[in-house]
Amino acid sequence: MSKLFYPAAAVLILTVSAFTFVAAQNWQIADGYSIGWSISGSDAGGIFKTFTGSIVFDEQNPGAGKFDVKVDVASVNTGNGLMNKHVKSDEWLDAVKFPFIHFVSRSISKTAGGYQVTGDLEMHGVKKTITIPFTFQKTSQGGKFAGSFTVNRSEYNIGKPGGDTGDQIKLEISVPVTKS
């Protein structure tokens, strides 16, 4: 029994320490992020100024990563005061009733061009599973996530379907991060 104890303990310590090496890195969202959106077939577009959340990600072990991020709907800026009011109104995103756009990842995997994250996007009170392709580049301060994806606003009951405004909303995201 005593002969087996020390080898077993050594294996256990090695295994545990190996897992600590591959544990995903916590990242803190840095200033200078950009959450932009545009609607196909129209001039409508803008940015969200407030973006918060937690990001856990490791290039070597993307599967252990976790994204839980929120966008403040009231922070929308289209560059036009009337348009801002319209986007925040109950006709569109209804910032009073649904103050956040929330994304929680379920899985992250490596792809040929970078990575992809699959998770639940909750917007305007509707939750749907989507996959977002993204890239991660290490920088001197930490890193930078970048990705773009399209959602169909009708699926989230945003605005009236059809009309002059296109259904596809393209979101372009660029998030610099620092190690936390």
Binding site: D43, G46, I47, N77, T78, G79, N80, G81, N84, K85
Partner: protein, 130 residues
Amino acid sequence: MLKKSLALGIVSGLLAGIAGIIYARVYYTINESDFSEVVSAVKIVAASVFGGVLAAIGYALLNKWLRNSGEIVFNLCFTLISFASLMAPIAVSLPRTIETPELFPGLVIPMHFFPALGWYTLKPIFIKFK
């Protein structure tokens, strides 16, 4: 006529520009919203002088074509065009780096009337009433 109206247009435009700069400073102090990225002092003066010169050309032409009613038609047109031009600052999309675009019309709309105000105020000095 063109010479006098051009002089009036330029002087009233310059004064409108100065009034615009003062108003922009006051507006910034009250609201703490900086629009200097899109509405600089040079742009305010240039736009006001442009409006004044355009008015001068319009005034000279209307008085040439409509000898009896040129003055009335010009005043009506100048006021209406000043009103119509308000659509521009209401509809414009500013750079998204500007935090408070909803305060932009409040800054620019009064400025759209400054050239007309300057013109109506200074006109008796430059062009004597017939």
